[in-house]
């Protein structure tokens, strides 16, 4: 392939794969709120990312990054920021709804877990958006 992957692209694909592998089951399979699961996922993503990024660094001879990489990185962070800011507005709106007009009664502990899950989900979505935006930017004209 004429445009085979650069070092930065490889690390981005590895990050995306690790995020989907670790976070996917929590949000789409278990559907349970749990502080322990969130803590476990954070540890799992750190370990998995360390292994994958180390492997890529060892297997890639040319690890140079340049101005285009930095521009694409900035675009990714902008997309991630816009995503998390938008989701925060939605999250705060939901919180206000629960506190004022919501009829769905929950115990205090459950409310805490519920919002832990919601805000953690926002972080995950924003991070995946950032990574995906960067990967798309590598394939499109800047």
């Amino acid at each position: 392939m004429a445009t085979n992957l650069s070092y930065r692209e490889k690390t981005l694909y590895a990050s995306l794969a690790a995020e989907l592998f670790v976070y996917g089951p929590y949000f789409f399979v278990h559907r349970q709120n749990s502080v322990n699961k969130v803590a476990g996922m954070i540890i799992a993503i750190i370990v998995l990312q360390t292994i994958l990024q180390s492997l890529i660094a060892v297997l890639t001879r040319n690890r140079i990054t340049d101005e285009r990489d930095r521009l694409i990185e900035l675009r990714g962070y902008r997309a991630g920021y816009l995503t998390i800011a938008s989701l925060m507005v939605v999250g705060l709106g939901l919180l206000w709804f629960h506190a004022t007009v919501g009829h769905h009664q929950m115990e205090n502990r459950m409310i805490g877990l519920h919002f832990l899950s919601v805000f953690f989900g926002m972080l995950v979505i924003a991070d995946i958006t950032k990574t995906a935006t960067q990967l798309v930017a590598y394939r499109k004209a800047l």
């Binding site: 340049d66 101005e67 285009r68 990489d69």
Partner: protein, 71 residues
């Protein structure tokens, strides 16, 4: 038609220089050279000058600006 076009591919071919060699001498990745040659990325002024210097031609022989082109 892009606003900034270039003749890098042709100039490089004349010098029998590979994309990797040009990238190494300019200090960018091969993927960036590919993106520039395909008019998918307009480099910074500094990189544009470096490309022209490595290819041994004036900047305007390497890069051309078309005000009617789309950015």
């Amino acid at each position: 038609m892009p606003a900034i076009r270039n003749q890098i591919r042709e100039l490089r071919a004349l010098r029998e220089m590979t994309q990797q060699e040009l990238a190494d001498r300019v200090g960018v990745t091969r993927q960036t050279v590919i993106a520039i040659e395909q008019d998918k990325y307009s480099p910074s002024l500094e990189t544009a000058f470096k490309v022209a210097i490595v290819l041994g031609v004036p900047l305007e022989q390497c890069f051309q600006y078309d005000p009617r082109g789309k950015r």
